[in-house]
């Protein structure tokens, strides 16, 4: 997917942006910012949850920006619906503070990034472009929370592992259990760890010997895994309850 997106971003094809937001000021700001660049266009807007869900019946946008606090319900529903309706669309949650609670909830619903509402026009454009190119932003608090989610999953998987029969004559392999059972790769894990210690994307790229864009791609993958992870966890919990009943 990222390859095709990259080709698109380099081509003169316009990035189609859809917005679900009830604050007219932010709508104006975004409209204004997007009209200033040639490769982006605001193709659809909605100001309520209902309108947002209706909006998804139209042809898919490349990027959907969605606010959480809509007058008739939560933007989370719109994000989840968009994930199904527009599977190739990159979804961003528009947030005032980028606080961990809102962002992680959105990522679990299918968002790939977030947009700080007080960003300057150029920052807004940069963020949308980066997201469309397959990168995702992350803050230390979000990174810490994501790490914690996967660690919790690890605990569950380890107990499941103990119930299995031991494999006879298996050669002992000394791999850290977190790497063995966590769906995060060692690289991804390391990336999150660096972020919680205050390193920037550029610094991490330098430390890992990759390009900054690759690091942003790691984050996108991590978000995708978190979404899958949260769904597995929900199923697992349901099964646990079913077993208990």
């Amino acid at each position: 997917m990222s390859t095709s997106v990259l080709t698109e971003s380099n081509s003169p094809v316009v990035i189609r942006v859809a917005l679900v937001e009830d604050d007219p000021n932010f709508r104006d700001t975004l409209q204004c910012a997007l009209s200033g660049v040639a490769d982006m266009a605001l193709v659809a807007t909605a100001s309520t949850r209902a309108d947002g869900l209706n909006l998804l019946k139209q042809s898919a946008a490349h990027v959907l920006i969605c606010d959480l606090g809509l007058p008739d319900g939560s933007g989370i529903d719109v994000i989840a619906a968009a994930q199904n309706a527009w599977p190739n669309c990159a979804i961003m949650v528009a947030t005032m503070f980028g606080d961990e609670a809102h962002v992680v909830k959105s990522i679990e619903a299918g968002a790939a990034g977030y947009l700080l509402k007080d960003s300057t026009s150029s920052d807004l454009i940069d963020e949308i472009r980066s997201l469309h190119a397959g990168g995702s932003p992350i803050s230390p608090f979000v990174a810490r929370q994501v790490l914690r989610r996967f660690r919790r999953r690890d605990g569950v998987e380890q107990t499941q592992l103990l119930e299995r029969e031991p494999v006879p004559n298996a050669a002992p392999i000394f791999v850290p259990t977190s790497a063995l059972h966590s769906p995060l790769s060692v690289r991804e894990h390391q990336t999150l760890d660096y972020i919680t210690k205050g390193f920037t994307m550029d610094e991490i790229a330098h430390l890992q010997g990759v390009s900054p864009h690759t690091v942003k791609n790691f984050v996108r993958r991590i978000y995708a895994k978190l979404e899958v992870n949260s769904k597995t966890e929900a199923i697992f919990e349901a099964r646990q309850r079913g077993l208990l009943m």
């Binding site: 503070f97 606080d99 961990e100 007080d118 920052d123 803050s139 230390p140 608090f141 810490r144 972020i195 919680t196 210690k197 205050g198 390193f199 920037t200 610094e203």
Partner: protein
């Protein structure tokens, strides 16, 4: 319990009596109330001859039975022989002819004395007593078949030879007739005279062992030991009534001494047991004196000393002594019981008085003053006494169970009440705690809004009002306000003791501003130990301190580079912020000076220390955080 026992006994006796009347209705048995009696001086306790050998010079006389034969001897150890002959009338024997001769039995209610007995049917020996002349089975009624062998006929007369010592001897009336008519009489008497003392003595002995085991673990209550000793004494005494004619394992004299002394000790032990019931209405010396006297009596009566005293004399004197001391004890306890309130004490003293009367009866019986067909009554009296003790023990046991149940119930109620109290006070405390936390949080946020956001907005407002601000300034002020707000929001995120995460969050927020100011930030953060005391309040102070330092550098230091590094030792975490700008300027500038004061205040509030240090080409600020909360 006592009542039900009495009722059962009464029912048993009534049934036996009714049975007896049924038998009497067509009786062919004869009660032999009269006998021919003769005495001959001399004789021996040796085994009798198989054929009746009557001395030639006997003078027979008719006597009514029972009858006592008095000693005719002159020297102490000589024997007198008494002869009793029951003649069976032809009419009676004719009645029995219709039945088998083997059915006809002779039942002698009692014979007694330091004596031996032989019974002849016509001239053939039917029975002779065994054992010694003293332990001869005197308390066992005699049951003999008159024609036990095949073809034998019922004799015309029955002759009894009683050889007795100086104490005299006696023979009771007798019954003769078919077994089905008179056997119940023999059975009932055996049951009353020998069986009842036999099984009650063992029953009480069992209870005595139980009491002894109780006493082993409850030494404070000697009453259990007294009960155990009494049961033992009663058992010894009852050997006297049920032992029979079989040889005794110990020396006869010692056996006699033991059975005799046991009665006295029963009196003394009874007194000891009753003493606590009277609750100090009896002087302790009374009990002690009784015990002392009994010890002396026991010593005087020791068999080795008896060689010098005639046996019958010493025994009688001993019984008399026991009865006299019993009377003393009983009068004292009766008086005490009537002064006191204890129901048990009254029962016990009345029962003790009864014992004394029964004892006197038995003594009279021994000395031929009463019809010898009467049974010895003391064992029955003792049964009553034991039952009273059992009633007391039963009541105590039931009461103890009741008390323990009540105590448990009371304890449970108290525990429940206490639990409720605790739950209530816990609820109150946690409500207070919650209230306090909320209050603190509110205070913290209020303070922060007041010092930061609020004052920035107000001063911006004043400047806009006075037209002192252009649009860029306004934008700048508003941006700073939003940054402030973001730091406040960040301080609310739980950082879980990780001060590095806090610094990371700060960097994340400040990065755009630094970039805009053209400052490079070098990040040398090393892992530091967790700070357990790091609460949202502390987080905000740390964020504000770092913010203030950064703002100062951005605004006043004219630096190109900032380096943030962390390090730690055993006690502290150090955060260094170093710039390559102008030295000293930060402290002299008025607004910076106010900022420095703020930093110091905040550091003080969280128990941290700050310092500014001039370094080659710049300043170095250090925030010193303790690892353990002070």
């Amino acid at each position: 319990m006592i009542h039900s026992f009495c009722r059962t006994l009464l029912f048993l006796l009534t049934s036996l009596l009714l049975l007896a009347f049924g038998a009497v209705a067509q009786t062919t048995a004869a009660h032999l109330n009269f006998a021919q009696f003769a005495q001959s001086p001399g004789g021996s306790f040796d085994a009798p001859p198989a054929q009746l050998e009557l001395p030639p010079t006997l003078v027979w006389q008719s006597v009514s039975m029972p009858h006592v034969s008095h000693w005719q001897g002159t020297a102490v150890h000589t024997v007198t022989t008494a002869w009793y002959r029951f003649d069976l009338s032809p009419a009676q024997r004719a009645q029995w002819d219709m039945r088998s001769a083997q059915q006809i039995h002779f039942y002698l209610v009692r014979w007694r004395g330091v004596a031996q007995i032989a019974v002849y049917g016509d001239s053939g020996l039917l029975f002779n007593s065994r054992g010694s002349e003293v332990w001869n089975g005197f308390n066992h009624p005699l049951w003999l078949a008159l024609a036990p062998t095949q073809g034998a006929t019922v004799p015309q007369s029955i002759t009894i030879r009683l050889s007795h010592a100086s104490t005299g001897g006696a023979v009771s009336s007798a019954w003769v007739g078919p077994a089905d008519e008179i056997m119940w009489r023999w059975r009932l008497r055996s049951w009353l005279q020998t069986d009842v003392p036999y099984f009650t003595s063992y029953a009480f002995l069992g209870l005595g062992f139980f009491a002894a085991f109780v006493w082993v673990v409850r030494r404070r209550e000697p009453v259990y030991a007294y009960f155990a000793a009494s049961a033992m004494m009663y058992w010894v005494r009852c050997l006297h009534y049920h032992w029979g004619e079989y040889p005794i394992a110990i020396d006869e004299n010692w056996f006699g001494w033991a059975t005799l002394m046991s009665v006295g000790w029963l009196v003394v032990l009874g007194h000891h047991m009753a003493y606590p019931l009277h609750r100090q209405r009896i002087a302790p010396w009374v009990v002690q004196a009784g015990t002392g006297m009994m010890v002396i009596a026991s010593l005087i009566m020791l068999p080795p000393l008896q060689a010098y005293v005639p046996a019958h004399l010493s025994v009688s004197v001993a019984y008399l002594f026991i009865i006299l001391s019993g009377i003393c004890v009983v009068s004292v306890t009766l008086a005490a019981a009537w002064r006191g309130q204890s129901r048990h004490a009254k029962w016990l003293s009345v029962s003790s008085a009864g014992q004394v009367i029964l004892g006197m009866h038995d003594l009279a019986l021994m000395n031929w003053r009463i019809n010898i067909e009467m049974p010895f009554l003391l064992p029955y009296g003792m049964i009553g006494l034991f039952l009273i003790y059992l009633a007391v023990a039963w009541q105590r046991y039931v009461q103890a169970l009741q008390e323990s149940e009540n105590a448990q119930a009371a304890l449970a109620t108290r525990l429940q009440a206490r639990e409720q109290e605790l739950a209530l006070s816990y609820e109150k405390l946690s409500a207070i705690e919650r209230q306090r936390t909320l209050h603190e949080e509110r205070q913290r946020l209020m303070q922060d809004m007041h010092d930061g956001l609020g004052s920035s907005l107000v001063s911006a407002l004043r400047m806009v009002e006075h037209g002192q601000m252009n649009d860029d300034d306004v934008t700048q002020v508003l941006k700073e306000c939003i940054d402030d707000l973001k730091l406040t929001i960040d301080s609310l995120e739980p950082v879980d003791t990780d001060v590095l995460l806090l610094l990371a969050a700060f960097r994340f927020r400040i990065a755009p501003r630094l970039e805009k100011a053209g400052l490079k930030l070098q990040w040398d953060a090393q892992a530091v130990p967790p700070l357990a005391w790091l609460s949202p309040r502390h987080s905000l102070h740390i964020l504000r301190i770092v913010q203030e330092v950064f703002t100062n550098i951005i605004k006043h230091a004219s630096a190109q580079r900032i380096t943030l590094s962390t390090e730690h030792d055993a006690t502290h975490v150090r955060i260094h912020i170093r710039d390559n700008g102008k030295q000293a300027v930060s402290l002299e500038n008025t607004s910076a000076g106010r900022g420095v004061a703020n930093v110091r205040r905040r550091a003080h509030a969280i128990g941290a220390q700050v310092q500014w240090q001039a370094v080659p080409a710049g300043m170095c600020f250090t925030l010193l955080l303790p690892i353990q909360a002070s």
